[in-house]
């Protein structure tokens, strides 16, 4: 039913799109996403993927092509990263508002400036309220699995929203792992051919798509999207339950690790979750009652589930991989604080521009939580002391 192979996160993402039988690929290469574009091109040339590969001149065009292609009634595949995602910004809104359920791997990389090729979550966080579902993977296996789950959810008649499957640049995209790649027959059973439930491009049935919408209807169409999001948690959970029946692997909107009797819990997103769990194991060995709450779904934000999981926990921290300038705390911490009103929630920022969030970082963060050193401000937990003096004027 599946083959276990050594592939990295980009490989897993490519396999996910191949198994979903995308019929059009319009991707523009960008570090660290490029291997996805290249692998999909290989699949097309080798006849492993029956798709039209469109070589586009930018990410903006890549998303435009994907939207147009999918509106003709087929799955369209693309993937991007960082400033490429930022360049797509305008048309990401078109996909969301026109309810085109494209599933796109986003290889998380920092935004400029400073220029960087490496991992953090600023790119995806900049799009967090744009009407796309956002799932975050912890491992290469999760990348593949969440892509299939995302298709099932995004294309559901009740949802019809596009979805990003976020994987941390280099930490996941370029790190090889033993991944179960399911057989096509098993995926076909889980993920039926694409059915367009909404408007479509057809010369025999002409429609004017994305037309100027008067004030009298704009709010209503935005509300339609909100209704789609409201139904997303239940549909996601159903898709995950079905996934377990077919493939045996268990997913949920979040994963509570050692949270039951924990005195301090840190909320995580993406690849840092593995390090966090490892650190929890080490600290538990020293008798410290700590836990991790990994969010798999950030959009929709599983508020109810987060509330339940963290209700018995005395002190909560949130490790954000983006700065959230001008806000009290960074994006994930903002959401968690809103859910847990009245309880101390310490925002941490770490792992920007590819800086590793190591066990030492989590040890430091847990120590602050356990000693009750909670501050209203966000804690830049891995910033160096010479932050303001690293470039001397000569």
């Amino acid at each position: 039913m599946s083959t276990r192979v050594m592939i990295d996160g980009n490989g897993a993402a490519s396999e996910g799109l191949r198994l979903a039988k995308v019929r059009v690929v319009s991707a523009y290469p960008i570090t660290p996403q490029s291997p996805i574009s290249e692998k999909l091109a290989d699949f097309v040339v080798q006849g492993k993927l029956d798709a039209k590969y469109i070589r586009v001149e930018s990410e903006h065009s890549a998303m435009c092509c994907a939207i147009g292609a999918q509106l003709t009634g087929v799955r369209a595949g693309t993937a991007t990263s960082s400033v490429g995602l930022a360049l797509m910004h305008e048309v990401l809104g078109v996909a969301a508002g026109c309810r085109v359920p494209i599933v796109m791997p986003v290889v998380n990389r920092s935004l400029v400036s400073p220029w960087s090729l490496w991992c953090d979550h600023q790119d995806a966080m900049a799009e967090r309220d744009g009407g796309w579902l956002q799932l975050y993977a912890e491992s290469a296996q999760e990348v593949l699995d969440l892509i299939l789950i995302a298709y099932r959810t995004a294309e559901d008649a009740r949802i019809q929203l596009p979805a990003m499957v976020c994987l941390d640049g280099f930490f996941l995209s370029h790190m090889s792992d033993a991944v179960y790649v399911p057989d096509q027959a098993a995926v076909d059973a889980y993920l039926p051919p694409y059915v367009c439930h909404n408007f479509h491009l057809d010369p025999n049935d002409p429609m004017f798509i994305n037309n100027l919408t008067p004030t009298a209807e704009y709010t209503e169409m935005r509300y339609q999207q909100a209704v789609g999001f409201n139904q997303a948690p239940a549909v996601l959970l159903a898709a995950m339950a079905d996934f377990k029946r077919v493939f045996g692997r268990d997913y949920s909107l979040l994963e509570a690790y050692q949270c039951d009797d924990a005195e301090a819990v840190i909320v995580t997103l993406g690849s840092m979750s593995g390090t966090a769990k490892y650190t929890v194991d080490q600290l538990r060995g020293q008798g410290k009652k700590v836990g991790v709450l990994k969010l798999t779904s950030y959009r929709p934000f599983p508020a109810e589930q987060v509330k339940q999981a963290l209700a018995p926990v005395a002190v909560v921290g949130v490790m954000d991989r983006s700065p959230g300038y001008g806000a009290q705390v960074a994006p994930v911490a903002t959401e968690v604080r809103a859910v847990l009103s009245g309880k101390p929630v310490q925002g941490f920022i770490a792992g920007l521009g590819g800086r590793d969030i190591s066990p030492a970082t989590f040890v430091k963060a847990f120590a602050k939580l356990l000693t009750g050193e909670i501050t209203a401000d966000v804690d830049w937990v891995d910033v160096k002391e010479n932050a303001l003096t690293i470039r001397e004027v000569k």
Partner: protein, 106 residues
């Protein structure tokens, strides 16, 4: 490509009653009258049916009917944006701009 499209689209027509999001299945002009905040109101007793308002209307929505029994000044409310040029240009100053219900008046 055509064959792949056929089935999903047939299904789409059979199972769905409403589209979500911005789509026009009929091609009609947008009713710009919904932009209106104030509307022209003619004091017909003072009107001399000169047609100056009709000539100056940038949206060509004014009809001036001089003959009895239908004499009056009529506006196409679907497209009158309430710009007030008719009121400004009227030689008898018999057109007032009054607030739209639900916009200025609650």
């Amino acid at each position: 490509m055509q064959r792949q499209q056929k089935k999903p689209m047939t299904d789409c027509e059979k199972t769905k009653k409403y589209f979500v999001g911005p789509v026009a299945t009929e091609f009609v002009a947008a009713k710009t009258g919904v932009w209106r905040v104030v509307r022209p109101d003619v004091t017909i007793e003072d009107c001399i049916f000169c047609g100056t308002c009709r000539k100056h209307c940038p949206a060509d929505v004014v009809t001036v009917a001089k003959e009895d029994p239908n004499s009056g000044v009529y506006f196409d409310w679907d497209y009158c944006k309430g710009c007030g040029i008719c009121a400004n240009i009227c030689p008898k100053q018999c057109i007032a701009m009054i607030p739209e219900e639900g916009v200025c008046k609650l």
